[in-house]
Amino acid sequence: MDHIVSGDILNEGDRIKPRKIKQAIVEIVSDSGEGAQKCGQSFGAISAKMGNGVWTVEIIPAEIQPPARSREGASGIRVRIGSDKVSNMGNYADLVIALNEQVLYGRIRQDAYNGNTLMFIENKWAKSEQESIRQQYSQALLEFKELGIQVVEIPMEEECLKLMPDPRKGKNMWILGLLCYMYDRDIPKAENQIRRIFKKKTDAVIDLNIKLLHAGYDWAREHLPLRYEVTPMDVDDDMVVMNGNEALSMGVMASGIELCSMYPITPATSVSHHLAENFERVGGIVHQAEDEIAAIGFAIGASFAGKPAVTVTSGPGLALKTEFIGLAVMAEIPLVIIDVQRGGPSTGLPTKVEQSDLLAAIYGEAGDAPKIVLAAATIEECFHFVVLARKLAESFRTPVILLSDANLATGVQPFPRPKIDPLWLTNPIDQSPWKDGAMPFEWDENTGTSKRPIPGQKGGMYTVTGLAHGQTGKVAYDPEINQASVESRSRKIASFQKSLKPPKINGDPEGDILLVGWGSTLGAIEEAVADARAEGLKVSSLHLRFLFPIVPGLVDIFKRFKKVITVEINYSDTLGNPMVTQENRRYAQLAWLLRAKTLMDIDCFSNVYGQPLNPEKVLKMIKRELKIENSEVNV
């Protein structure tokens, strides 16, 4: 970001030609309830409509309305726009616009800014009636400047007061106007965006917000000596732009699922909000159950009766659902379970990202309960993987767990508009008479799969049971039957695994380091790998979507690298920490799984700061690792 001095901003005029840049990272932070997210989402949406790559990450405090001006209470959003596709939140912000100075402290601690960051801060606090606030304000400005950050004070309140008596609810659109000027955004698109987000409000509200937009734009034109252009891409594809939870919801609707049975839990709830708003228009319905156990039981009941169903939850809810998941495995009832992961264990970090449910998803049930576990890596996959999950659930007569996380949930990224296949939507439940003499669990000897009778089918009457049972569905008292039926259920998973292809490698098929990731870290890992390769480092990566069963061919791929390291947002012990030894070291979850699957010495890089992964941290790790290797060679 270019340097400006505070004085500049008052005299510069409109004579600035936008300077071309490849990308920009902008944050808006405030107390909660000031509309920072709405502002950032709009900025992202306008940019996406202009053809830019976009990625947004919401900054969410743990409480609905934390005390004003609190350091931990930062609520806001980061928006990264680029001339190319943007796949992650990037490293340091180029510009942060803050509605008060205190919330910036939390973000500084989270390493969001560096010496190149430009800070625009609401200046009304300098004239606060409270002495303590005035002091805090001037103190903070000093501290930020000491960090090398450029601070510019902006009269947001003062300018907005010209248009409305209480700008708390209007400043965000004024800021949007400022950003539209600074990044040369299309004003008619911005106006349309305002009409869209306030579509349930009165015309007066819409007019006022459009006025605020123009006021912010005009003020910036008068006063800011900076202007950029982030050239859009040439895309022919019709694109859609939404966040991961909206994509999950749209995926549910496109998959032909007819029922979402849920219990509210952050960060999964907004999937069901979106469904509650829209599902009935496409013939579906949301059931808010009395708890997570009832939610999955209800979904299982519906699915048993031939109506495809999904239950949506997050960690604590997944824990409660385990007994029913075991039943769905045992009784072979198709079901899609979406887990939008958050920090754990227990109530953990409800609004923060973590990837700690992998092993719980795969192995969480008591008894042997193999099922399919998938993880979406992009917003686009949030959509398509629901469609896939329903298909797999029915083809293999099994529950399928689809993992997403808090980063994908609120992240926004454009992707090619899905082409809805009418076949996804057809669901005439089979009510033709059941084949004479066929058993309800007639397991195919080679694949373990079988066809299920659905209530209403004459002659198919059977009783689902969680007790051990054979092909007839009757309670098995003979131990042979149990062995055979567990084998069949396991065989189904193996036969699905046989249909999978080895994963694609990002980079060369051999080298010094192979990074292996899963879920929302895809973009950050690939960006770090690209940066490392640009520096001549022999680094590649691959990203897993199928976690259970795991894709084939991994050993062959891993063998061609000197070191394989998983990159995950979950906990692992760090060698060198007190009490940690090679023997007792706890590995990150994917690393654990891959070590067991491949018998190879796979390392991991993981942490639980509750923050999305940024490329720079990965790049640093790569460099650290390569030095270690070199020094070993030297010894």
Binding site: K49, G51, K189, N192, R196, D238, M239, V240, M242, M250, M253, E258, L259, S261, R281, V282, G283, G284, I285, H287, A289, E290, I293, A294, A295, G297, F298, I300, G301, A302, F304, A305, G306, K307, A309, E323, F324, L327, P414, R417, I420, P422, L425, T426, P453, P455, G456, Q457, K458, G459, G460, M461, Y462, T463, V464, T465, G466, L467, K474, V475
Partner: protein
């Protein structure tokens, strides 16, 4: 916001004449003398008399001795998890109004581990028959105290006698929001048992029936004396209640006239503690029904779904034409 729709129970098929054998399967494995046997036969009789199509009938149970019930029915069955019969049954019914649904649950199943679902199932008031097999003890796991065990019950978990007063399931149910049908009967009076389940099957909502059930294996003394003579029962009688033939009526020692539309009186009768009141305590056929909401938009065609999905996608499109 419930949407009034067509009658949601299935219409008996005309081209069939189902007999008792169509509703049975296998040999029930309950102890000799267990109340489960007579309840099973009675439910089969009701299904036959209602001419329910076996393939359109689903019996959902939890875990316990009672949980085995669906295995002995010739219908579809769902023997699920301990305490969780209600959510499964509700899920079955929600989008399949054409199915006849029965819930079979035990006193531990319903009033202990599944208590949350019991409360909410009553409130959902979806058309189904819920049979609480209340033997006052945990049978399947061999004699532990149940929430309905009388105070002082000697069990394997309270060998010196249970220490808390029991839950009265009908009193509790009568206190729940949107309750629409509460009846009580006993396994050993087949005429009353039949009339009760029949009335329950005809109720447009969730019909909750507590069946006082004998468990000779573990609670031989609990109803041993009472069961030998109908004089020990108190019959709640009303023209809108559960009606017995005059002959059967005469056998009861005490008869109380009780109008089942009167919930306050119902609650009073539920608390009678010097005998077992049997009959219809409460019925209201006008309550909100969640199954009607669940079925309000069934059967949308693929074309329409696709059209509406595309217009939803339009809202997210970056192309200008759809601003």
């Amino acid at each position: 916001m419930l949407v009034q729709t067509h009658e949601l129970c299935s219409i008996p098929s005309l081209d069939h004449d189902y007999g008792m054998e169509d509703y049975g399967k296998g040999v029930a494995r309950w102890c000799p003398g267990c109340g489960g046997h007579s309840i099973l036969t009675t439910v089969q009789r009701v299904c036959k008399d209602m001419q329910y199509e076996p393939e359109k009938t689903v019996v959902v149970s939890g875990i316990g001795c009672s949980g085995r019930f669906p295995h002995y029915m010739g219908t579809y069955g769902f023997h699920g998890l301990h305490g969780r019969a209600f959510p499964v049954a509700s899920g079955v019914k929600f989008r399949r109004p054409d199915l006849n649904v029965f819930v079979v649950t035990g006193d531990g199943d319903c009033c202990s581990i599944g208590a949350a679902h019991w409360v909410h199932a009553i409130r959902y008031n979806m058309k189904m028959v819920a049979l609480l097999f209340d033997n006052g003890i945990y049978g399947l796991t061999k004699k532990q105290t149940s929430p309905t065990s009388p105070l002082g019950t000697h069990s394997n978990t309270h060998p010196r006698g249970s220490i808390l007063p029991p839950i009265n399931p009908i009193q509790t149910t009568l206190g729940l929001a949107n309750v629409s049908f509460v009846a009580q009967t006993v396994d050993w009076n087949s005429a009353h048992l039949y009339a009760t389940i029949r009335k329950a099957a005809e109720h447009p909502g969730l019909a909750f029936v507590r069946i006082v059930q004998r468990c000779p294996a573990f609670m031989r003394d609990l109803y041993g004396d009472i069961a030998v003579d109908p004089k020990n029962l108190i019959l709640l009688s009303h023209e809108n209640g559960i009606n017995l033939k005059p002959k059967a009526r005469e056998a009861f020692g005490r008869v109380i006239e009780h109008d089942p539309s009167n919930i306050h009186k119902a609650r009073e009768h539920a608390e009678i503690n010097n005998g077992i009141p049997i009959g219809l305590l409460y019925q209201n056929t006008n309550n909100a029904r969640y199954d009607e909401y669940g079925a309000h938009n069934l059967g949308m065609g693929v074309e329409e779904k696709k059209k509406n999905l595309e217009s939803l996608l339009d809202q997210y499109s970056t192309s200008n034409s759809v601003e």
